[in-house]
Structure formats: structure tokens, C-alpha cells
Symmetry: C2
Subunit: 753 residues, 2 copies
Amino acid sequence: MAEAASQELLLAAAFVSDAQYNRNIPFKTSPEAVRLYYLYNHWFMRTATYFFIFLNLSLAVFEEPAVYPLPFLATSVVEVLCLLVFFGRLMHFAKITRRNVFWKDTKNICIMVAILLSLTDLAIYGALRIYNIKSIRWSRIVRPIFLVNFAESRQIRRAFRSIRNTLPEITYVFLLFMFSLLMFSLMALKLFGERNLQTAEGLPYFRDYLETVFDLYVLVTTANSPDVMMPAFDFSSWYALFFIAFVIVNTYIFMSLFLAVVYNNYKKHLKNEIRTLAYMKRRKMIEAFNLLKEEEGTQFVVREAQWKQLVKLVAPDISNSHRELLLRISDDEQKGFIDKKSFVQLADLLNIQVITLKIRSHPLGRWMPRVYKSAVSQFLRSVVRHRGFVWTYDVIILINAIFIALDEESPYISYAEWVFLALYIIEILLKVYTYEPRAFFGKNQFWNWFDTLIIFAALTATILNTTLKSTTKYNSQQILDIVFILRVLRLIRIVDSIQRFRVIMNTLINIVPTMLTFGGLTLVVYCIFAIIGMELFHGKIQFFPANSNAPYALECGNPALKDSLFARGKYCKNNFNNFASSFIVLMELTVVNQWHVFANGFANVTAQPAKLYFIAFHIVMVIIIVNIFVSFILEAFFVEYSLEKSEVETAIEQKIQELGMGVQEEALQDEQLLDNMEDADNDLEGEGGTKTQPAKGLVFKIASKRYRTVDALLQRMFEAEIPLEDEGPSFEEILNLSPTAAVPGDLTSERAV
Amino acid sequence: MAEAASQELLLAAAFVSDAQYNRNIPFKTSPEAVRLYYLYNHWFMRTATYFFIFLNLSLAVFEEPAVYPLPFLATSVVEVLCLLVFFGRLMHFAKITRRNVFWKDTKNICIMVAILLSLTDLAIYGALRIYNIKSIRWSRIVRPIFLVNFAESRQIRRAFRSIRNTLPEITYVFLLFMFSLLMFSLMALKLFGERNLQTAEGLPYFRDYLETVFDLYVLVTTANSPDVMMPAFDFSSWYALFFIAFVIVNTYIFMSLFLAVVYNNYKKHLKNEIRTLAYMKRRKMIEAFNLLKEEEGTQFVVREAQWKQLVKLVAPDISNSHRELLLRISDDEQKGFIDKKSFVQLADLLNIQVITLKIRSHPLGRWMPRVYKSAVSQFLRSVVRHRGFVWTYDVIILINAIFIALDEESPYISYAEWVFLALYIIEILLKVYTYEPRAFFGKNQFWNWFDTLIIFAALTATILNTTLKSTTKYNSQQILDIVFILRVLRLIRIVDSIQRFRVIMNTLINIVPTMLTFGGLTLVVYCIFAIIGMELFHGKIQFFPANSNAPYALECGNPALKDSLFARGKYCKNNFNNFASSFIVLMELTVVNQWHVFANGFANVTAQPAKLYFIAFHIVMVIIIVNIFVSFILEAFFVEYSLEKSEVETAIEQKIQELGMGVQEEALQDEQLLDNMEDADNDLEGEGGTKTQPAKGLVFKIASKRYRTVDALLQRMFEAEIPLEDEGPSFEEILNLSPTAAVPGDLTSERAV
């Protein structure tokens, strides 16, 4: 009986945890499956999966054409190992879901097909290799599938789905844009083609239709402006009007139109997905509730003891007092049980980061109270707490900046570096002396961590460098570079001193995790294009050091590049000869400028249709993904800039006010702490304020603008449209849904925005 | 008595007209002032003012340094004339407003100061000229003030106000961005400065701090990517990471942040302004109502006769039937009077473009009914109406496109041009024969007008060209160019055949008038920068034709440009030697690419600080104005893409359905017309459907997505936030406001978005 109850608790905790992290895995509810499900979600298993995914992707660095060549046997053994891990992970997943669910999911089919393809290709390639027949490792292109399709990469999959849904609308705008481009090209051909003009490189000017289309497509991206206009402009000033009209129509209007279409559709589809997520979350919470519910009068409720055990299981790392706070919020009137509505909120409550500020005395105050509480010590601590202390260090940083900019040769300046290092270390020590060390290095004290890490890294690197210099007379370039970078990074701290800058910086830091989704998206696109690029252009362009005597060293080893802009710009190192180089070329293509020089260069050494590769990359990366990135940043900033708090956050804050005050009244004798608390954001000045308090007080604070998960930020974005406390019928509606059924049609279907 | 009544009607009409066009001129209500006010708003007076503003601006083309030089006397006489006109316009304005209002308005003060400054400068310059002392015409920079400050340029002023309000927030982001730039520059200096690297041009690489900052600022705009990276990348592949980090932080994140801040603030401020406008409009309508109201039972109303006279005065060009329709909407229950609420709506009603489709027989059908109604004619007309007719012509256009792309030399192909022209003319004639000519050339039949104009212009130009060729053996380049352009423009028509493209095109056409605001804004910024640029860089760079023997012809006449990218790119014609050239250079700087080549080129021929001019232009034009343009396009597209209709439009449509059906039932025997009407958007296929109807039927249709004024579109944008039918207290609130008082504080003050 007790075991059955603990089974139910475990199952309920799995539901709550899924709701909290927005996982949507339809697992079986048998005890064994639930245990396997816990194992499946264990951080170690997930980290290991990611590790093998990235290991698999990074194989491209070691395989032919390699940055660091490894024998084929080594890479193929690692690949087989990775594939085995993926297969194992998939089998694990199969164990916890019902068979029909497993086979209906395209993700799983994709992974299996990808594993099979990889193995087949590996076998064929290996066999051919034995007979010394060179073939293509075409299956490498399927590797990003593992990154996209493993259940953990929800955000990347969602982004891909958004793109797929946006495609039809983009296609129409793109066709219209292409029509405009073709029309303008025809006009350019007629107007300039028969004038026998020449470009600055002496090439024929608008003589061939396809060349004209390409040149004008490049002009849309502005990469060849104003060069493409100059010959016509030199011929007659009036021809400038043609190019002005072209740029206004195609660059300004059509490109904005692309952004508008992408933004509008992305937002719409994302909103639908998030709405679905919100409903799924609620459904899971209700299932958890139904498992634990007991009858109390006319309604079903969850008892306090059960609830506490549940929270302990779901979030083992939160403190007792934090759990108590959550209980007081859920069980508002202290009735000893939690009703359905409050219970459903739990997933959101757990997602809000509540900082527990422990007001405890400084350890030094306990170990040697006489010294710590002496007049000198008191004075020292009041100095450190004074505003002037911060200002002094701001001035020191500025002076440091000037010293960095000055020439390093003078010995006085290189000694000054030691002085600055010492000053910074003293600052950190003083702060730790004044404030409580555990508060100083709290989870959310980003800037303190940043400072300390930078300073100690700089100290280590500087000492290492000096030792090397004095013992071996050898100045390690790498270490010196790192010292330089750390020295300059130290200066960032000054931003933290200015309130307005801190707000912008915090906003930037907050959207970093969500930007990682785009990192993943970009990685997938880059991987695919890099692998194709290496097959197409490998070895065609070589880089030779400046003093090389190799034939055609100035033409990147390829006579076809003679007199080309590619060779003249000394772009030889931008080639597809290995995975790392390919990534850098693709990055440069993403930045857009001079991409036509790359396209022409690689087309010269292979064939003209090679330009299509570059055009395809531009369309996929710049027109679609960068625009989605911009849309996302815009939307995220609008949310961050509007300072309103969510309903749940407001509820928690109210509760903290109600309860927290009570706690504080015992612990505090002056109101200083509270006053400081309210304006300190990620600042420390408040926390150390209770100088002589022996009591272990507790203060809660909401890290209001931090999101634990990307989904939380997304939900925040569309909060206004998604009712968080949808009561009555919708609850029943969700209850009536079977757990395995897809989300009801009306939730996923598009609604007018 | 009658005169007093007509006075009041005139005054009320002035109020209604102001409300309709969102004019906010606090004119005096004396009969004389009202008459002067009518004159002030007369289209001729407004057009004349604009004419003189542009004449004044275009003087820069004829003054030294001139595109077309005119004697100083001529330009100064024209300038004095312009200033006199401006002064006259200002005096006219002074006559119609109260004195205290007039002197409180900064617009008027600005204009007066600008006139005074211009006259002073003109006098000084003229006097010095007599003694042959060369001085600067510095007052030319104030000329755009007239464009901004005359009462008609509301939109441009609003845009400037938005920019001013956005500045503080942009400044903080900009400072943070500058900080990041300075930090990265310091790092670049330390990392690469002591490596003795060289750029592709053989210049020192990151050796000087200011140079480094400039180079990295250019990299933010992507204009020197990847060139700026190559030397470091060639030295060590790891250094690519520095540039990747730089581009991600500064180009992608900070530039998106600028767009986000500009967009967010622009939207917020615009919304406030539009809300104010909406309240002002309502206030004016209530003033008009109060002038005309009569007592009717317990409420005040406006009688039908009065209302009709008012509408006749306000909108003299709308048809009787249209007016009748408006009356039926306003006086819903046909009580013979209009109550306050309906009366206030009138301004919005007048702004909705209702198309009156007159169903009348073809004039040929009346003049020679026997021929027109013969079987052959009937058949012909049914052919033209058939879908296949449109498709046939689409095929013809495509064949035409191929012929245009082919070589012109073959005589067959040049004959083919005549065949195509003939085919197009036949098409237009057939359509006019089939459909009613006045319907075919209706106000909203954009594509018909476009087709006809293009075809007849092409016909004229082709005939002219052939005549010239056969008589003088001389092929005029200009005419030939125009023929080519017209020929290609003809192909645009194919877009109109595809429904999806037509929707996008109509959206684009609809936002054209609103984009003109940005045209005005751009004109002001360009004028100011062009005049400064001419003073700074005039004559420093010269353009010589390709075969010139002038000294330093290849270095643009300036030895300082030897080996520079500017000279190598053959950019000599991009100079500030006259107003037109300056505009083209500024356009190229707006497109951004290669702007650093310009900056370096002009800095080489003058002094290094000249780069500040180019940086300032980049910040003003690209970071601020282009971002506002993009924000505006985004917002406009979101509105256009969401297909909902406004409340007033829906009301009118309902009424049209109610009434229109009645009208049609008499006129129609088949339902064909109605059926066609509903899916025809700007199409003609429906209108000619009543083949044998002698009755003069009337059908109304809302040109739903057309906006007469920019303000109408803007109001549409923020409609959701501005209650259109705000009843009760807010009415009284507005009534209590004195007409001269500024808008109440709470309306203009910012509200949380």
C-alpha cells in the first residue's frame, strides 16, 4: 500500500517536472517505465547524449579533409560508438513510451534512418578504401539530424517548424522579388549592354543576361555598391537614377518586406506553439493532481504532507524555507491542503527564481569576534560600503585603461600592471571581508563572479608569462594574448557602475540563453553547407604564407584566379579545405559583404553554376535565419523593455511582502536592509547591511527578469494572449483530452492575430 | 439672419474639414478670418507654397558650385521671391490666428528667423561679392527649415518629434555600443598592433588607436568585412575568433538593439501623437455640432437639410448618391435629423473611400445599338470577358519578354516590336469596347491607367525614334533609353494576373504615400549634409573622362589619392562638386557599402577629422532614419496583413449591403454582377456584366485598403488602442477643453504600453 502510494507520488512528480520544463514525452505509467523515465531525464544521461552529438559533429574536424588528421580507423570507431549511443538512447526512449506512440513519431524514424544511412555509408566507404577507390562520405550531411531530432532539442525543432510554416508566404514575396530583379536586369541589359562599357577590373559590363541578374542580386545585398554603378554613372549621370530606383525598390522595400513577413509569421506560429505548450502543461498538472487528490468536503484537494513530498521530489535543491514560501502561496489560507487551482500553478511557481538571502553574520565575526568587531574593522567595513569606494575603483579602472593603451615597452608601465592587479585583488578581498562570502558569491551575483574569475585568471597568466620569460627567455604568444584580453575585459566592470548601462546589460545577458537556440540553428545550417562546400571546393584554393615560392602563390595556387578580386584581396585563406576554414568562410558569407568576390572566386576555379551555392546560402542564412534572429531579438527586447510583471510573479511578491516582513521584523533592528534591498538589483550593497545581527534571518527576492528556460521567456512574450488562469470550462476541456492524443485542433490551428 | 446662418455653416464646415484632414490650426472664428482660412487651405495656395519651398531648395542646383550655373543675380532674385512668398504665407497665417497663439508657436518663430538669416546672409554675400571677396553662403543650410516648418508638413514634423523623443534612449545604447567598440579596439591594438602586419594595400595594420577604432566601426557596418580580418587571420587562424566575437556582439546584437529601441520608442510616441489627434478631431466635430445644433425633444440634433449643406461645403466633389448613402448611415432610422454621436463620425465617414460603380450601358450601345448588339459584337465581347483572353495576353507578354532579351540587331526582331505594340493597343481598344469606358478609366483602376499610359508612351517614343532614324539617320540615345524602359515596364502587368502577387503589390502601392514622409525626412537630412559636404570637399576631387590627359587623371586630379582604394575603385565621379553629385554620394553612403573608402578618400584630400562627417552621416541616416523607416514598414505591413476592417468601415459596408441590395434588385435580372463584384478587387471583369441593362443602377463598394491621408493609415495602425466610439465622460471632457488650450496633459504624457 505504502509502495503504491510512493509509486503514485513518483509518477505525479514526473508529471510536475515535465510541466515545469515543458517536456512533452508521452511515457508509460507503469512503475518500471516511470523509473526508466527518471533515468532518461537524469542530467547525466542528457549531458552524455549532447556530448556524443557534438562529438559526432566534430568528427568533421578530424576526417579528410582534416584540420587535425586522424586515421580513418580512429574516426570510424568513434562514429560507430556515437551511433551506438544514439541507438541506445533511442531504445531507452522506446522502453518508456507505448509502441504505437513511438512508431508514429517522425523524430524517432528520422534518427533510425540517419543511423542506418551513416552505417551503410561507413561500410561502403571503408570497403572501397581497402581497394583504394576514393568515394564521397555523403552520409556526413545527415549528422545534424541527431542535433535536431533528439528530444532535448525542442527549441531548435520549434525554430525549424516555424521556418517551414513561414515558407509559403516567403515564397510568394520571393517570387515577386525575383520578378522585380529579372525586370531590372532586362532593363540594365538594354540600357548598358550595348555601350561597350567596362568595369573597374576591365571586364565587360552588363553584357550577359545571367551575369546581369547575378550582379544586380549582389547589389540587393549592397555588397557591390557603388562599384556596379560607377561605369554607367561615369558614362552619364542620369543613369544613377536607375540604380537609385533599384536600391529603393529591392534593397529597402523588398528586404524590409522579407523581415516583415518573417517576423509576422514567426510570431504567429510561435504563439500557437506556446499556447499549445501552456495547455499541455496544465493538462499534466491536472494529471498529477488526480493522482494525489483526496476528498475534502465537497472538493478534491492535495494534502500538505503529500504536497511537500512532491515538491521535495521535483525540486530537491530548493531550501526548506523556499518550499515553505511556496506552500504559503499555494495554501493561502493555511487550511492544510491545496485545491486544484493552486496546485496547477505549481509548475509556474517552480519556474520563478526566488533568491533566498540568508542574513547571517560574517564567518570572521564568529571566529574572531574581537578583531572583526573592533573599531578599525568597523571603520574599514564602512569605508568599503561607502559609495566613494565604488567611485575610487571606477577611477582606477579608467587610469588602468589609459595605461593599457600606452606603449608596453617602458618598464614603469609594465610594473604598473602589477600595481593594478594588486589593487583589484585588494578590492575583492575587502569586499569578501565586508560582505558575507556566501552572499558575495551567490548564484545571481554575475558581476562578482565575473570580476573574480577575470582577476585571478589574469594573475595566473601574468605570473606564468613572467616565469616563462625569466626562465626560458621565451615569450609565449598565446599566454601573452590571453593576458591582453583579460586585462581589457577587466574594464567591462565600469559598465556595472552606471545604472542605465546595467539595465541594458542585464537585458542582453538575459536573452543569451535564448539566443543559443539560434546558435543551434546556425550550427545545423553551417554544418550542412560546410560539408557540401568541402565536397565542391576542396583543394581548389590554397593558402601560402607571404614569402612562399610555390607556383601561383599570389593566385592562391590556382592560375584561374589571376587578376581576380579574390586573389587581389588576398582571400586565399578563405577556402573550403577543412571544416574550420569552411565555418569561417560561411561566417563571412553571413556578414554578406564581399560575398560576390567569394562566389566569383570559387566559380572561377570550378564552374559558373557554383555561384548557386552562394546564392542558396544567402537566401537560407541571411534572408530567413538572420531575419528570424532579428525578429526574435526585437520581440525579446519589447518584452524586456515593458517592465510589467507576470501574474504569478506578482502573487509571489505579494506573499513575500506579507510573509517576508514578518520574518524580517524579528531579524532587523534598522530598516536599512529593506531600503537598500529595494533599489539594489544585482548589487551587493544591501546584503551586508545587518552588521551585528546574530539571528539567521531570511529574505526572499524575486530575480524578476531571469528565466530558467527558454520556454519561460517565450511564454512571457505571449502572456497577454494566453490566459494563465483560464478557469472553468477549459479545465474540463483539458481533462477530457486523452494524454496521448495530439493537441486539439482549435489550439494548433491559426487564429486571426 | 440668413447670412449669420450661412456664416455658421461655413465655420462648421471649416471645423469638419479640419477634422477630416487632421488639421490643427487654431483659427479665429470671425467671418472674415473664416473666409481667409478657406483661402489659406485652398489647394492652389498650398500647392504654391510647396512649389516655392522646392524652388528654394532646388536653388542649390544653380548656385555655385552649380550643376547648371546661373548668374548670382538670377538666383538671388529667385531666393528673395521665395522668401517674400514665405513671408506672405506667414502673414496670411497671422491674420487667421489670434496673436498670442501665433507668437507662441515655435514653427512661426523658426520661419521668421530663417527668413531673416537668409536675407542677412544674402546681403552680406552680395556686398562682399561686389568687392570680390569670397565668402560662404552659410544660410543655405536653413532652407530645409521651410520644408519642415510650414503647417502642411505635419508628417515630417511628427517624424522629427519622434526622433527627438527617441534620442535619450538611443543615446544610452549608443554609449554602451561605443564602450564595446573602444574595448574591442583596445584589444585589437594589443593583439595585432605589435605583429608588424600589413593590410592588402600594404598599410600598417592596427598600429594606431584612432585608426583601429575607425576600422572596427566600419566593421560594425560590415563594409570592410572580411578585408579587415585577413591579415590577422593569415597570421593565425585563432584570431578569427576575435572578429567573430566582434561581429556577433556589435553587428548582430547592438544593431538589432538599435532597431529594437528605435522601433519601440517610435511606436510609443507615434501612438501618443495619434491618440491626441483622435481627440482633437472629436473636439472639432463637437464644435461644429454645437454651431449647427437645434433642439429636438430632449436632445440637441442637426437637421437633415443643414447636414446636407454642410457635406456639400466640406466635400463638394462627392456624388449625390454617395451623400445620400452617408446620410442613411448617419441617420440610421430616417428620423430627419442626426444626433451628436452620429455627427461626430462624419469626419471618419468622409475619409473612407467609397467607390460608386455606375451600372450604365456602353455609349456605343446607345449610339449605334444595332451594331453593338449584333451577334458578332456580342461574341466579341464575350471573348474579351473570357478568362482565356487574359491568359492569351499573359502568354503574349512572356513571348514579348523573350524578344526583348534577344539581340536587337536582327530586323525581324525589331519588326516584332511593332507587332507587340499593335497587339497591346488592340487589347486596350477591345477592353474599352467591351467595358464601359468611364468604368475602365475609373479612379481606382490603377492597372488600366498604368497599361494605357505605358503603351501610348511607348508608341509615341517608338514612332519618334523611327522618324528620327529615317530622317536624320541619328539615333537619339535618350529616346531609345526611354523606349527600352517602357518596353520592360510593360511586362509588370503580368503581376496583376496572379492573385497572390496582386495582394502584395496593392499593399506596396498603399504604403507609398506614407513612405513619402520618409522621402521628406531624407530630403531634409540630405540637403543639410550636401550643403556641408560641398563647403568641406568642393573641388578636392575631380572627375576626368577615361581618355583624359589631365595631370593625375587616374588619381581624381589629386596626388593625395595615389594608390588609394578610392582612386583604384574609379570613384572619382563620387564627389561633392555640385548638389546633384552630393546627393548621389549621400545615397551611396546610405547604402553603406564602401563608405569607408569614401571616408578615407575625402580624409586623404583634406584632413583625417573629415571622417567624422561620414560617421555622423552614418549615425543619423542609417542608425536612426533607416531604422525608423524599417519600423514604419514593419508596422504598416502588420496592419495591411491583418485583414480586419475598422468599425466605421464595417458600419458603412453593412449599410451598403442593406441599401445597395435594394438598388440592385431593380437594376439586375441576373445575379452575375453581384457574384463578380465580390471577388473582383481592382478588377474589371465584374462591372461589364450587365449586358443589356438600360437602367442606371448604382453600386457602392469600399476601397477598403486605400487611405486618403497618412494620418488615416496611422490611426488604423493604433486603432485597437484608441477607442473610436469613446462615449460618455470623455465627450464631456473634450467639450470642457478650451479650443486654444493645448491637448490635456494626460493625453500626451506617456502611458505604459
